[in-house]
């Protein structure tokens, strides 16, 4: 069952089309990575989903309702947004107590979520002195305050150190295991690849693809890496055989959709010297980059 439904969503800011006829769904209990380069429209989509931005056309719904019409939004949906601020003069604990008071949650929840995100020690410190990573943790604590079934996280890994990113992965996995639905955005696939079940990739405000991570992995290519002083000669030779190869550095080629045998025979026939050759698989990041830049060039 779809928990989040984005349907024909378009948002224009003046002349700029930030989101362009975007549609996708997020099913209950799944962790979905919402991916795209900076400026792809991820934040605008999420802010529209949360009722902060009014769409130009289309709709964004949670459990069939616009966010603004949810009966108890904080218990239903937890959100971490970029540029969602804290008053620098207020302590972390007081920040959460303000939210709890306004949402009608018990004040004891503040200490519970601070412990959950590892900020118990810093609870009484003013947020103004917090590092970016600590702010992200406090943002997550705020999102978890109402123990929501749905989590919407905009670039939660930003500003986290490697240990923090590792911790975040664990937290997301834990939340997913509890049956919560998580939509997490990132401009770096690797940040979320180990955690998500599915990915929604957008670029230029449009949907590029929605697929499982496995389907995305299947799109990776077999590549042959060749180190040779005659890279350009070999490249045109392979091109003549219909094999596409890209230079990678001064004396290296990356040939796609071929085998070491084919490249080796072609090189031997032309008397090309080869220092080194091996097969490798393109990684997810390459697929992501290829998908998003292709789309970016089109729009």
């Amino acid at each position: 069952m779809a928990v989040i439904t984005i349907q024909g969503l378009t948002k224009r800011f003046g002349q700029v089309v930030a989101v362009d006829d975007l549609s996708f769904e997020v099913d209950q209990g799944t962790v979905v990575g919402f991916l795209g380069p900076n400026g792809a429209g991820k934040t605008t989509t999420l802010r529209t989903l949360l009722g902060l931005v009014t769409p130009t056309a289309g709709s964004a719904r949670i459990d069939g309702q616009p966010y603004r019409e949810l009966a108890d939004p904080i218990r239903h949906v937890g959100a971490v947004l970029e540029a969602s601020g804290f008053h620098p003069g207020r302590s972390a604990r007081n920040h959460l107590r303000v939210v709890a008071t306004a949402a009608g949650l018990p004040l004891a929840r503040a200490d519970a979520v601070l412990a959950q995100v590892g900020l118990a020690e810093a609870a009484r410190r003013r947020v103004g002195g917090f590092s970016l990573g600590m702010r992200q943790r406090l943002g997550l604590a705020t999102a978890l305050l109402g123990d929501p079934r749905v989590l919407i996280l905009d670039e939660p890994a930003n500003g986290l150190d490697p240990e923090g990113v590792h911790w975040l992965r664990g937290l997301l996995r834990q939340l997913a295991d509890q049956g919560r639905t998580v939509l997490v955005s990132s401009h770096v696939l690797a940040e979320v690849a180990q955690t998500v079940d599915q990915v929604v990739i957008i670029a230029g405000g449009r949907l590029v693809t929605q697929s499982t991570l496995a389907a995305l992995t299947a799109r990776t290519d077999l590549l042959v890496r060749v180190r040779t002083p005659q890279a350009e000669t070999l490249r045109s030779l392979l091109a003549a055989q219909g094999i596409h190869a890209n230079p990678d550095g001064a004396d290296q080629l990356l040939a796609a959709g071929t085998t070491t045998e084919t490249v080796g025979k072609a090189a031997a026939a032309a008397g090309i010297v080869i220092y080194e050759m091996g097969a490798e698989r393109s990684n997810l990041e390459d697929v992501f980059l290829q998908l998003t830049t292709h789309q970016g060039a089109r729009s």
Binding site: R47, L52, R68, P73, A83, S84, G85, H87, A103
Partner: protein, 247 residues
Amino acid sequence: MIRLVRAELTKLATTRLIYGVAAVMAAFAALTVAANILDRQGAPPLSADSFPMLVGGPVTLLSGAALLVGILGMTTEFRHQTVTQTFLITPDRGRVVAAKLVAYPLAGIALALGIVAFTAAVATGWLAAKGITPSLLDARLGRVLLGAVLAAGLCALVGVGVAALVRNPVAALVGVAVWVLVVEGLLMSLLNIPSSLAKWLPSAAAAALTNPGGAQLSRLAGTLVLAGYALALALAGTRLVVRRDIT
């Protein structure tokens, strides 16, 4: 709604602004008492009769302080982007503005009560040292207190209204200062507005509460006029706040 008002008051109580404003106002109140007692040129000699005047010294600035607190209570949310979280909790933005319209006048009234009590304590002590025993039952004292409370509450209300409309703290503060210090005066002199009309302008209506008497509106009329300005500003501001994208 009550929990939203409580949340607004918690916001106010968990940052330093209100304590700073209270401390500055207390210092100013003590100074006005000192100035009014030490500088007696042209004034009748000190007596128990001087007490209400001494207590009323800081009332005008007090309403300015309440205005400041009201303005910052709204603009700070935009400046620090806490408004995102606020609207996530309460997507019905009109209710957020309404909660502020209740909470900040309450804070303004509390501030006024505190500062008036403090001023009265300082003045009583000083007069006692001079062998004068003021009466706390003086009817004029009651009028000073009522004026201070009404003015501070309504000015905080105006502050929230202005800030809902303007959002930027500096623009809101400068705008209000320019209006009170320059625009109203210019309007009166340039357009040659008779005082029968000028007394309906916002700061003249506020003055009817802080410095009653003369050609000004009655206290009741001043209260209603000021409340009317505040609500008109708040309504216009709310319409903007509800429609604007929070990015």
